[in-house]
């Protein structure tokens, strides 16, 4: 690796750490709301870009590029839904979730579910499932980081993986939502610059998009079709629908993403955040898929398709720009990994440990649980990534399918359907997760040609409606929840009386934890 590439990578790390440190100090409030939600003071542009960069992950540089390389333009089905994922999220649940979470005093996406659907079982199941899936999702980021680092440095994969995991861990331990949000903001701009630069270099190399497509057509006309290489997906609308849904409506079921709604400055922030999300997505989302497609012409003999974007960057760009592109790739990986690990640690400490194991947990114990779990995920992730690394694409599609299938109806109905009750939400989550899981690993995708996301989502949605309606009499939605939903439907500030009446019984604990975290940082 040239000195220039190293310089850009080191510069990138220094800037990210500096922003993280500044934001950590700025956002170090006196309570847990400051730590977990940045004090609910994240503006529209930062909200949009942290939402998008968290959602995108290393998948965009490995999975998306690899899919484009293997299947040609068929891969764009995933991008077609993804472009609208941000604005759909903001327009459908953004404003209402922000408002309802504040009225109910919820600080994590899982706590929010328990307060809307009052039952410890909701929190136990949702918390456990989320910790497992987000931990699994983080594994994909480790593999992506390790593969990328190995390629650009020439180091052996185990050593490169260890460095990638260590960097992500240190970065995450800086802690705090505001630090994550503002570094995500910076990283999303780096990602955009990097990916645009590389696609421009590809198009320049191939003589423009039309010439590239003509060359692809001459090589294999099916690469230009919407049905994949060799028309392998012809007529498989169940797969196409899943590809469209997973990164559009699917976002609304991802706890680490919907947390962004809860942290907005005000509910109305969702409006401009939706606009920024669309602008960023239009430029960023289709590009990695396109680079993967163009890589078929530039590097036709790749052993590992998921390395297409890395390899193209190395082949076409000067060292300085390669450094920038590598920084962009690491930005995509880290901006997702830090959010995943922060959410996983927070949910494990607050929604599982404090809620079910040790209700009188001290501040030190909470921090210990959070950091221990994050470290455990890193160690297990390292071992799995080393012994038998699955493809980044398969991990991301699996984790996001199960998350979306399990939680989408619960989050959506939480703000839109007053009859959605606890039994409906719980069974919907269980059925959605089970169906998506068994669909993927029970061989049903090949048999039915239906995407696991589509199968899981249909089943969880039907379950939510049927069970909620059947159990209205035995498990009615509590009056205080209905009142909060009525207020949420109104556009306007929350009446002070309603905020005062809300359950803030966790505030003293939250304050103590916040002070503890701040004291730890000062000690460091």
């Amino acid at each position: 690796m040239s000195g220039t590439v190293i310089f850009f990578l080191v510069l990138y790390y220094v800037v990210v750490l500096a922003i993280g440190y500044w934001a950590m100090k700025k956002g170090a409030g006196d309570d847990l709301e400051g730590y977990l939600l940045g004090g609910r003071k994240v503006g529209p542009m930062a909200t949009a870009l942290t939402l998008q960069s968290t959602s995108m992950s290393g998948y965009m540089f490995l999975g998306a590029g690899g899919l484009g390389y293997m299947q040609g333009y068929w891969a764009l089905w995933y991008a077609a839904g993804d472009v609208g994922g941000g604005v759909l999220n903001m327009s459908v649940i953004g404003r209402r979730m922000r408002k309802l979470s504040q009225i109910m005093g919820a600080l994590t996406a899982i706590e929010y579910l328990e307060k809307r659907y009052p039952s410890p079982a909701i929190r136990l199941f949702a918390g456990t499932l989320t910790v497992f899936l987000l931990g699994f999702y983080a594994l994909a980021q480790f593999i992506a980081g390790g593969k990328g680092m190995a390629l650009v440095t020439g180091m052996p994969y185990p050593a490169a993986l260890a460095i990638a995991v260590a960097v992500i861990l240190v970065y995450t331990f800086m802690g705090g939502y505001l630090a994550v949000a503002y570094t995500d903001f910076f990283q999303s701009l780096v990602m955009l610059t990097g990916v645009l630069w590389i696609v421009i270099a590809c198009l320049h190399e191939l003589g423009g998009l039309t010439a590239a497509n003509e060359a692809l057509g001459a090589l294999d006309p099916t690469l230009l079709s919407v049905w994949g290489r060799g028309l392998g997906f012809q007529g498989q609308w169940g797969i196409v629908a899943g590809a469209l849904l997973i990164f559009s409506v699917g976002y609304m079921g991802w706890p680490h993403v919907v947390t962004r709604h809860m942290a907005m400055t005000r509910p109305g922030t969702a409006r401009k955040a939706g606009m920024w999300a669309t602008l960023w997505n239009l430029l960023f989302v289709p590009t990695p898929y396109l680079v993967g497609i163009l890589a078929i012409l530039i590097l036709p003999e790749l052993d590992d398709p998921e390395m297409a974007i890395f390899e193209v960057a190395g082949a076409l760009l000067p060292a300085a720009v390669t450094g920038l592109v590598m920084a962009a790739i690491m930005a995509a990986i880290m901006s997702t990994a830090d959010s995943l690990l922060l959410q996983t640690g927070s949910i494990a400490a607050r929604d599982l440990y404090e809620r079910f194991i040790n209700p009188h947990a001290t501040e030190k114990q909470m921090v210990w649980v959070s950091r221990s779990l994050v470290t455990l995920i890193a160690v297990v992730g390292y071992a799995v990534a080393l012994v038998e690394p699955p493809t980044v694409f398969s991990i991301v599609i699996f984790a996001t399918s199960v998350l979306g299938s399990a939680f989408l109806p619960a989050y959506l109905c939480a703000v839109w359907w007053k009859k959605a009750n606890t039994p409906g939400a719980l069974t919907s989550m269980v059925i959605g997760a089970l169906v998506a899981f068994t669909w993927e690993y029970g061989g049903h995708v090949e048999a039915t040609r239906i995407h696991p996301m589509l199968a899981g989502l249909v089943c969880s949605s039907i379950t939510m409606f049927v069970v909620s309606l059947l159990t209205q009499k035995i498990a009615p939605v509590p009056p205080q929840v209905l009142e909060a939903m009525d207020e949420t439907a109104e556009v306007g500030p929350i009446p002070p009386a309603m905020l005062a009446a809300a359950d803030f019984s966790l505030a003293p604990t939250a304050g103590a934890i916040g002070r503890m975290l701040n004291a730890e940082r000062r000690d460091d």
Binding site: Y73, V83, G84, V87, R95, S225, G268, M275, L282
Partner: protein, 44 residues
Amino acid sequence: MFGLPPETAFLVFGFPALWVIYTLVFLRRSRDWENEDVTPEDRP
């Protein structure tokens, strides 16, 4: 368009165009969300 079959061109350019239209409609229909951007004390 750009050497692509019509249905592929729609996939590449049509879907993003639909999302742009969706965003514009959303911005227009949510103009009253600015009412959220006042503090509770300012509420009439």
